[in-house]
């Protein structure tokens, strides 16, 4: 009901207002306190820097986004696949879940030396890292969603002679969808970050590589330019998944 009341244009106006306020604060602080670039550059300087390095930055963003999106897709598949497997064969739960938790308890970057070692310094190591980070979030969200069903509804399906697969497909998946999609939304942002962080540890290109180089060259305007581009890319990714979510969850 409230969703219908607030027109999308108003929502958009408000988010723009929020962004404008934040940028104004930032710009004001940086300029007002005469902060040097190595502490915090002014937004205007960053935007100018961004524009002047636009080709490098956009190429790098494309590179990173490809890693993030492929890794994200892979992670979603793995996460959903594992959750579905557990849904179909409950005995797998006690095997998969502790292992997944243990693996996920270590920051993905902790594996970076091993992953870089095994998959090399190119794109594939980033994809693996992103997939690892994403798949756990998806697994947890999806499992929670699958478990959320009304037991009586499951019983009803069973009384129709529904197989586990049928119960999963017709009942558990629709129930799990909101949580799964929330997990997928949160993961978009993480996938870009993990790609960037891995790039910072060893890469041929991408935003993380640009950031790493810029830090070493003490070019903080470029660091922030790259961060801005990364944010924009993540936001677009986040928005896309959010859009899909609204399309799919029509009944709520």
């Amino acid at each position: 009901m409230s969703r219908a009341l607030a027109s999308p244009s108003l929502a958009a106006q408000r988010s723009v207002l929020g962004a404008v306020l934040l940028i104004a604060c930032w710009e004001g602080t940086a300029r007002g306190l005469h902060l040097p670039a190595y502490v915090l550059p002014a937004v205007s300087d960053i935007l100018v820097g961004l524009w002047s390095k636009r080709t490098i930055l956009f190429d790098a963003a494309g590179y990173t986004l490809i890693e993030a999106i492929v890794g994200y897709g892979l992670g979603c598949l793995i996460g959903i696949g594992l959750a579905v497997a557990i849904g179909l064969v409950p005995a797998l739960r006690s095997a998969i879940l502790p292992l997944a938790t243990a693996i996920n308890s270590v920051p993905v970057v902790g594996y970076s030396p091993l992953i870089l070692l095994w998959f090399g310094i190119g794109v594939s190591s980033k994809i693996v890292m992103v997939a690892m980070a994403v798949s756990f979030t998806i697994l947890l969200s999806m499992l929670a969603g699958l478990d959320r069903v009304d037991r009586r509804a499951v019983d009803l399906m069973k009384s129709f002679g529904a197989s586990r697969l049928s119960v999963l497909w017709r009942l558990r998946l629709p129930t799990a969808l909101p949580l799964l999609l929330a997990g997928m939304r949160v993961s978009t942002v993480r996938s870009v970050i993990v790609a960037i962080v891995t790039e910072m540890l060893g890469a041929h290109g991408g935003l993380g590589w640009v950031i790493y180089q810029a830090v070493l060259q003490i070019d903080f305007v470029q660091v922030w330019s790259a961060i801005f581009v990364a944010s924009a890319a993540s936001l677009a990714f986040f928005g896309l998944v959010g859009f899909l979510e609204r399309k799919l969850l029509f009944w709520t």
Partner: protein, 271 residues
Amino acid sequence: MSSPAATSLSEAAAAARSITMPDSLRKLIRLMLGLAIAAVIWEGAVLLFGIRPYYLPRLSTILMAMAATPRAYIDGFLRTLAETLIGFASGGAFGVLMGIVFFRVRALREMIFPIFVVSQTIPVIAFGALVVLWFGNTLLAKAIIAFYLTFFPVTVNTLLGLETVDPKQVALMRSFGASNRQLLLRLQLPTALPQIFVALRLAASLSLVGAIVGEWFGDTTGLGVLLLQAMFTENVVAIWGALLAAALLGTGFYAVVAAVERRLVFWSAEQ
């Protein structure tokens, strides 16, 4: 009349517990067994296939290396644990709070939520250097990074959980003249609780990630420090040592959160 009912009820509860006790014991035994099997497979695979220690050392080698400098691991474990707990608690609380605020005040949500999203798109590593600049090598600095990683999923799930409340139940509460506060405490939060816990379980892992990554900015103790040192001295045995310690911490903490969840969200437990 009600007191015998109460006592017999509590007896029933006790009886129920004594039934579940061997169950949890069985679980523990199964867990131990699983770990033992995993250890044997690891050790055996390395020996059998002659895997080069550089790729995968023997488990016994790793454990022996850890036992050689136990203090480093114990101190690191405790320090990282403290950072994780602080980050988790503050991130969880803030996340739930912001979820509620965004749920309640649509205008704020539309203004600030996108900024939250943006904040999450900033790589921790870029942000970490700033935290050191502002807060130095303190426990607080790591906790802030853990916090930063934690609060967002909690906010998203809290918001989502609050929005799935059955409008008919809201209507019922309203017909009792419930205030917004009562609506929140008695209906919306309990309904959202299962969802919130999904995020908290995630946050348990993420806060550890935050603590460890936070320690990469010039800290002196912690599992993150051990990991970093091992990484850059290419000491694969030590890398695995730090990974195992972190996995132990993470799994333990996760298990605690999951246990709390089972207690609090008893009504939606399916299995």
